[in-house]
C-alpha cells in the first residue's frame, strides 16, 4: 500500500491522545495536570481528526460516514471518535469516576475501531491479525504515557516517576508486540498468485501489459514506489525510536520535563515511521495485476 500521510498522522496523533487520556484517568490525576492533559489530548485528537479529513475526496460529506455503523468499522470509528472527544472535554471540565470510566470505554472502543478498519480486510494478510489492534492500542498507550510523564514532570512532579515507569513497561510491551507482528509478517506467504489472479494454472506467468501506458489509480494507491532501502530505513527507525531511544531518555531523567518531552517527540517520530511501515509493508493482492507497465 502507499502510505497516506493523512492516515499515518491521524492514527498516531489520536493514539497518543487516547493514551494520554487513559494515563491521566488511570492515575486519577486532578487539578492543573488534568486540565492541561485533557486540553492536550483534545488537541491531539483534533489534529488527528483534521488530518483524517485530508484523506477524503469530499470532506464536506463526511457526516454521511456515520450511516453504516452496522457493517463498517470505519463508520463505527467516525461515531466513536467525536463521542470520545466530547467525553474528554467533559472529563476535563468536571472530573468524575463514572464520566471518566465512560471515556475510558470509548477510548478503548476507538482503539478497536481503528485497528479493525485494517484487521477486518481478509486479503491484506499483513493486517489480518489481532496484533494489529493490540499494537495500535499498546503503541498509543505508550506514547500517551510518555506524554503524561513529561506533563507531570512540569505540573505535578510527584506523578512524573510513576508515569515514566508505566511508560517504560507499556512501551516494552508495545515494542514486543510490534516485533511479533514484524516476525509474523516476514513469514507470510501470499494466498493469491498470478495463477489464481487470472486463473491459468501455470507456475510461470509474467505480465506484458497492464492496460495503460501511464499510471493509474491502481498503481498510485497500492504501491509506495520507494526503493527497498527506504523501507528498510523505516523499519530500523521504528525499531530504534519506538522504544529503545525514548526509554534511554526516560531512564536518564525520569523527573526531568525537557528529557521526557524529548522522549515523547522521539517516540512520536518512531511511531510515524512505524505507521508508515505498517502501510508500506502490506501487499495488496490487486498488485498482481499491476506488475509491469508494458
Amino acid at each position: 500500500m502507499n502510505p497516506a500521510w493523512s492516515v499515518v498522522l491521524f492514527t498516531t496523533l489520536a493514539g497518543a491522545g487516547q493514551g494520554l487520556y487513559l494515563a491521566l484517568f488511570a492515575a486519577q490525576a486532578g487539578g492543573r495536570l488534568l486540565q492541561a492533559g485533557m486540553a492536550i489530548a483534545l488537541a491531539l485528537l483534533g489534529a488527528g481528526l483534521l488530518a483524517s479529513f485530508f484523506h477524503l475526496g469530499h470532506p464536506e460529506r463526511a457526516w454521511r460516514a456515520a450511516a453504516m455503523w452496522r457493517t463498517s468499522w470505519l463508520s463505527r470509528e467516525v461515531i466513536v471518535l467525536p463521542a470520545f472527544m466530547a467525553l474528554v472535554l467533559a472529563y476535563g471540565l468536571m472530573p468524575g469516576m463514572a464520566l471518566g470510566a465512560l471515556g475510558a470505554v470509548a477510548c478503548v472502543a476507538l482503539f478497536v475501531c481503528t485497528g479493525m478498519i485494517y484487521a477486518c480486510l481478509p486479503f491484506l494478510q499483513e493486517w489480518r491479525t489481532p496484533l494489529t489492534i493490540v499494537n495500535f492500542t499498546l503503541l498509543g498507550c505508550a506514547s500517551g504515557l510518555t506524554a503524561a510523564a513529561a506533563l507531570a514532570a512540569w505540573l505535578e512532579p510527584a506523578l512524573a516517576r510513576p508515569f515514566a515507569q508505566a511508560a517504560l513497561v507499556v512501551g516494552a510491551l508495545a515494542y514486543l508486540g510490534r516485533i511479533a507482528s514484524l516476525a509474523r509478517n516476514a513469514r507470510l506467504r501470499p494466498k493469491s498468485t498470478l495463477a489464481t489472479a487470472i486463473g491459468v494454472k501455470h507456475p510461470r506467468i509474467r505480465q506484458i501489459a497492464q492496460g495503460a501506458m501511464g499510471g493509474s489509480f491502481n498503481t498510485r494507491e497500492f504501491f509506495h514506489g520507494r526503493p527497498r532501502e527506504v523501507v528498510r530505513a523505516a523499519r530500523w527507525t521504528l525499531l530504534a525510536l519506538v522504544f529503545p531511544a525514548p526509554a534511554a531518555l526516560v531512564l536518564a531523567g525520569p523527573g526531568s520535563a525537557p528529557l521526557l518531552a524529548a522522549a515523547f517527540l522521539l517516540q512520536y517520530a518512531g511511531l510515524l515511521a512505524e505507521r508508515w511501515y505498517f502501510f508500506a509493508e502490506a501487499k495488496h493482492p490487486q498488485n498482481l495485476y499491476y506488475q509491469s507497465i508494458a
Binding site: H55, A65, L74, Q207, N287
Partner: protein, 245 residues
C-alpha cells in the same frame, strides 16, 4: 440464489486483446447518464484516467513454449462483495433486483476504503470528481426501453468483435452465460477469498488433432501396396478404396 444476478462471462480463448471493450466502455460511460469519466493529462507526457475496464496481457510459460493471454479486467460484481459492507456511507451497494454492485456518486466521500477492500483492484477513483467509480454493467443502458432489445447490453459486449463477452443472468441455468460457464469450464478469479465473483472467465482451449498409429495405416488395403491396384477400365467407376477388384 433465485434472484437475478447479471454478470459477464469472458472467453479468454477468443479474446484477441484489441481493447474495443475498453474504448467502448469509456465512450459510453464518459458520455452516458453517469458520466463524465475523467482523464488527467490525456495527451500529455504522463497520461492517466479512470477506466471501468482494462485489457491486460500476460505471457504464460517460458520461451519458446509461451502463450499470450489477453485478460479483460473489470468489476466482477461479486455475490458476496467485500467492498460493500466496509463503505461508511452506504454509497457502495449491491442491487437486490439484479445483483449489480454500484456506487452512489452523490453519497461517496472519496475515502477509498472500498478500493482497499477489493482484492481485484476493480475500483478506481475519479481524480477530478473525487468519488469512487467502477463498472456499472451499463445499468443506464441495459434497461433502456428506447433501445432495440438487441442493444440492451453493456457497451463492451456489443463492441467485442470476437464475441468474447457474454452477458446474462447467471442464476438462470438456461441463460447463455450460465450455459457457457457450465459447459465450457467457466471459473472465478481468486476463489481463495470467498467473494464469489459473478463474472466468470472461460479458459483457453487448445484444439489438437491426436493421430493414433492405427489411423496412419490403411486398413482397407491389406496388402499395403497403394498404387498397385489394377487400373480400372475407363468405363468403370473410379472410386478408389470403395470398389474392389
Amino acid at each position: 440464489m433465485t434472484t437475478k444476478q447479471l454478470a459477464l462471462v469472458i472467453d479468454l480463448n477468443v479474446c484477441v486483446g484489441c481493447h474495443a471493450c475498453v474504448t467502448s466502455c469509456k465512450g459510453w460511460n464518459n458520455a452516458g447518464e453517469a458520466g463524465p469519466l475523467t482523464d488527467q493529462n490525456p495527451y500529455g507526457a504522463d497520461p492517466s484516467g479512470t477506466f471501468f475496464n482494462r485489457v491486460q496481457t500476460f505471457e504464460v510459460g517460458e520461451f519458446p513454449k509461451t502463450e499470450t493471454v489477453h485478460f479483460p479486467k473489470s468489476c466482477l460484481h461479486c455475490e458476496d462483495p467485500p467492498c460493500v459492507p466496509v463503505c461508511p456511507t452506504g454509497a457502495s451497494y449491491k442491487r437486490a433486483e439484479d445483483g449489480i454492485v454500484l456506487v452512489d456518486y452523490d453519497k461517496c466521500i472519496g475515502c477509498k476504503y472500498c478500493s482497499w477492500a477489493c482484492p481485484y483492484g476493480a475500483r478506481e477513483i475519479d481524480e477530478s470528481q473525487k468519488v469512487m467509480k467502477k463498472c456499472t454493467l451499463c445499468v443506464d443502458r441495459i434497461y433502456d426501453q428506447k433501445l432495440p432489445e438487441a442493444e440492451r447490453k453493456p457497451a463492451c459486449v456489443l463492441a467485442c468483435p470476437t464475441s468474447a463477452r457474454l452477458f446474462g443472468d447467471i442464476h438462470d441455468p438456461e441463460s447463455e452465460a450460465s450455459r457457457a460457464i457450465r459447459e465450457q469450464g467457466g471459473y472465478a478469479l481468486m476463489p481463495e477469498w470467498g467473494t464469489q465473483p459473478a463474472n466468470h472467465y472461460l479458459p483457453r482451449r487448445k484444439t489438437e488433432k491426436h493421430l493414433h498409429a492405427d489411423e496412419l495405416v490403411r486398413h482397407d488395403n491389406p496388402l499395403k501396396v497403394d498404387g498397385k491396384l489394377p487400373r480400372p477400365d475407363a468405363g468403370e467407376p473410379a472410386l478408389d478404396d470403395v470398389t474392389s477388384w
